[in-house]
Symmetry: C2
Subunit: 593 residues, 2 copies
């Protein structure tokens, strides 16, 4: 099943909900006009549907393969990547001074959705490079930047993030990789696991960002430093030189994303890999967070990107598959799409995808404003908003994305369980998204701790206030669907506020931690409702125009209504779960489990 990027839906969100035109008013983002954005989206749609999409199935079936000489990507991958960098897709959001196009994050995120819909395994390579570029651009010396960034921005060299070790998963304090100083560089020794695209054959060099400890490092997370360790050393003239002492010793056999090599990397088997310190010693974890926030948002985009692909496939199947009489189609065989329950599944997929997309783009736009707005207070508030929404984008969109891909399988009936159909691949691929770049529990911990408790609920309060003003607009409107949205939005906001108040009143951290994922999910669902309400308000406003496409705009309003009636009741029950079940969650002794 081929992929066609939903350019119109993406542009609707950018233009009418997120407010791209406001972003384009900021100094440095002037090129991101509505027309330019649509041209970029159209071009990206063409590239992803024609080049990346068709490689998705073969990537799953053949996967990446480990060889003594290095990891080989699936057939067609090398050529597709060459086209990817030739067309400049890797450079979209990067700083202009290193050859990037400097586009706002909201626009580059919109493009990246298409990569992951078309071919999530492929999209991971530039996703990781982007994180590495970000960390270097923010924290590395000018010399390191000059050496590595231009080729990474162009995509000629890819980047990786090396955090995890076998004995230390989420707990980075336990890492053992060592860095011994030697002249102007360090010798890195240790093993890293779960390294996405740790080795491959698509670029002439691979730039690893590696967390390691100096000999005199303090204990725990305050003793972690960040190093850049290229696969091939770089000559004075910038050309690729001799191989560094780093290799991929094996790749994992995974449930999904078979074409994205997940590598076990060994550093220093022959004495030590040459690495260069990024920024100051012992600041590595903080620098890595630069990469992680970026990467977490990007993984949230994957969450709905893969669900969009699953939706397109399920919709096509539901239209094509004829099977007896249906309630909505009558006695003639008109496609199972005319079964009301198939509509339920498609509506759940479609409305949820739009909600997640809008939230991710809104979050990205907040970071754009935070980066470029002239007023420091606005920058600060926008940064707070972007950081608050990031765990929702990552946690909620990936959990929901998995559910939606599972619905995509269900719509196919028995065919969904047959691998040749392709529906199951999306579910297998999606299943990693709530795990990597910090599990949902880590996102929830970030939400209740760093993003809420730390500022006494300031950011969350601002968000609730924004939601209430949207609620007031809905209530003031003279439209039956907008009023129906308001009917469910109002108690959902009240439930969220009650949960927030409960959270901020807790002293023992155990209870909030016990239901933090429920707290994250309720806020994700509510934020999705807020986005959909804004889309519906915009659609009703757009309908006043003389050339309005009424069918299209009505669909936006009805999708918002469905979302409110299907998803927002879960915010109300979510409050009960968050508050009432916190105690019983931890009530059993281990031996009783």
């Amino acid at each position: 099943m081929s992929y066609q990027a939903p350019v119109r839906d993406i542009a609707f969100m950018l233009n009418h909900v997120v407010g791209l035109s406001n972003v384009a008013k900021l100094e440095g983002f002037e090129e991101a006009t509505t027309d330019m954005a649509e041209a970029i989206l159209e071009e990206s749609a063409r590239f992803t549907s024609e080049v990346l999409g068709p490689l998705n199935t073969i990537g799953d079936a053949q996967g990446a393969t480990w060889e003594e000489s290095g990891v080989k990507t699936a057939p067609g991958w090398v050529d597709a990547y060459a086209q990817f960098i030739e067309n400049g897709w890797g450079a979209l959001s990067f700083p202009v001074e290193y050859g990037g196009q400097g586009l706002p994050m909201c626009l580059s995120s919109a493009v990246q959705e298409m990569w992951h819909s078309a071919n999530m395994s492929f999209g991971l390579c530039p996703l990781l490079t982007q994180g590495a570029v970000d960390a270097l651009a923010h924290h590395a010396s000018e010399e390191l930047k000059d050496t590595f960034l231009p080729k990474m921005v162009s995509g000629e060299w890819s980047g990786t993030m090396n955090l995890t070790e076998p004995q230390a998963g989420t707990d980075l304090a336990a890492i053992r990789t060592k860095a011994e100083p030697e002249g102007d560089h360090f010798l890195i020794t240790g093993q890293k696991i779960y390294i996405t695209y740790g080795d491959h054959d698509m670029t002439e060099n691979i730039v690893h960002l590696v967390l390691a400890k100096l000999p005199d490092a303090p204990e725990g997370v305050k003793g972690i430093s960040l190093f850049v360790v290229p696969k091939y050393l770089v000559n004075e003239d910038g050309s690729v030189g001799e191989q560094n002492d780093v290799r991929c010793v094996s790749i994992e056999h995974k449930l999904g994303i078979h074409a994205s090599p997940t590598c076990v990397m060994s550093y220093g088997d022959e004495g030590g890999a040459v690495g260069y310190l990024v920024g100051e010693a012992n600041h590595g974890l903080m620098y890595m967070f630069t990469m992680m926030n970026q990467a977490r948002h990007a993984v949230g985009v994957q969450g709905y990107g893969i669900a969009e692909r699953a939706y397109q496939q399920a919709l096509a199947y539901a239209n094509d598959r004829k099977q007896g009489p249906t309630l909505l189609g009558g006695n003639d065989s008109q496609g199972i799409i005319n079964h009301p329950d198939v509509r339920r599944m498609l509506m759940t997929m479609r409305s949820s995808i739009e909600a997640m997309r809008g939230l991710a783009l809104d979050c990205a736009a907040a970071f754009d404003v935070a980066a470029k707005h002239p007023d420091p207070d606005v920058r600060k508030a926008s940064q707070r908003r972007g950081e608050l929404l990031t765990p929702l984008v990552k946690g909620w969109s990936t959990e929901l994305g998995v559910e939606l891909c599972s619905l995509g399988v269900q719509i196919h009936g028995g065919m969904g369980f047959i691998e040749e159909t392709g529906a199951a691949q999306h579910l297998r691929d999606a299943r990693i998204t709530p795990i990597y770049e910090g599990t949902t529990a880590i996102q929830a911990n970030d939400l209740i701790g760093r993003k809420t408790a730390r500022d006494g609920g300031l950011g969350l309060g601002e968000l609730m206030a924004d939601m209430k003003s949207v609620l007031a607009e809905l209530q003031a409107a003279d439209d039956v669907n907008l009023k129906a949205v308001a009917t469910r939005f109002e108690p959902a906001i009240a439930a969220a506020e009650a949960a927030n108040e409960w959270l901020l009143g807790q002293n023992d951290p155990t209870q909030p931690a016990a239901t933090s994922v429920e707290f994250l999910m309720m806020h994700g669902r509510l934020a999705g409702g807020w986005i959909m309400a804004r889309a519906a308000l915009a659609a009703v406003a757009e309908k006043q125009k003389s050339d309005a496409d009424t069918d299209y705009l009505d669909a936006k309003t009805l999708l918002a209504r469905y979302y409110a009636e299907r998803m927002l009741p879960l915010v109300e029950s979510g409050k009960t779960i968050v508050v009432d079940s916190a105690d019983s969650t931890v009530s059993l002794d281990i031996a009783q489990l």
Copy 2:
């Protein structure tokens, strides 16, 4: 990770919630005493953990393979099946007159949970045989019964169900397989798909039950007849004779249950497969429903059986995996089980599994009473209860089973996505259960139509009344946890009653169909809460005994409380979803999707 059957938990449900001792009072079930039941459960635990469980991983990795000469099962399968029939496991629930042990369904279901936990792919073979035995025992002539049943009951021959054709999935009216009369038999011609264990090498014969149409058959479902078509014809003396004109032409490449061959069967390539009419012509669909109700319950058992396996694996991992300080374990690395969110996932799995197990066994006990009770009114009411609960057991337990297996993956973090860990296999295997033997939508349609609208809500009203008397017991009790359960049970019952009333008031079938799956899920969750409440009441009562195991019994009460606080709020939101979203679910035109 090895499987250990939760004998104590199963026995607790049978003895203290389901009331096995009442079933054992019925004529014909006298042998099913508490002691006998525990002996059977212990023996089954030994067999499943020692013989079936260890073959689960190799079955997944190697799968069944198609060869010109026939389908070969995975290494070890043939020997395990030989032990299975030698120990008499296949004959547990079958009529004594054909060599079965005539045990009540509640006890045989308890045993079958263990098959599916240990090795779901293996368990499917006897599951299908059981359905075929049931259909023949109820509807076939004495001659056919004498020919086929003894060997099927012993397990020497296996059975299959042949419904689906490529053009006719759920819509059986569209089947095209033909049956031409010839002498005392019929010649069957056609193709069937999705035939579980349609061919394999574990038994000397395979008895296919096949839906086909006679030449003069009426249109649609009223023209379907049921035939028995053995792989090898049976000689006068009962021995296996020449090969029939039926063959497996290919097997499917599936997401999971790799070791269970899903066959495309071709009948009559060389003129026609010899088949024998079961019962009367054109009654096939009705007879097949005998198999389907049985099989649907059994698939519900698979739903929580596979979740139990995933739970055991996740619990072991959470205990073993050490990784830094935890809120519940302090600063020493004491296993990620001491993270409150890992507890949340384990508690959700454990409490849900117990709720599903209790509901399936309660449903089975209702069928037992319906089969053997001397009072025809009691039989009728029990039959109604069993039939009402069946779509909940199938629909809710399989949907929830998939969710729980996904939580099992999540608890493993990155390791869960690596196939070698085994957690992902459970998710892949479980994913078929909400699809086969009727998708969740089919179960929901059965629940709202055949089981509710048809009797004007009589059965559902009886269930609600039973729940209210349990509620009254909870409210009268002097126990903080029982009161907490009541706090959530009361509004959940009220919400369900409101949804029932709405459903029964609908004239247009479209709206109930649009949210029927939500209706099924809310009733499944509520019924699970009812079971858990009964378990908690029993545990509090048991605690009064002098030799009571307080830790064990307290855990039952706390699991019930957790379940009530985590799951029953979803019944309240479920009512809103069922009623409010029915309209918007079908509000878009196809072109707007």
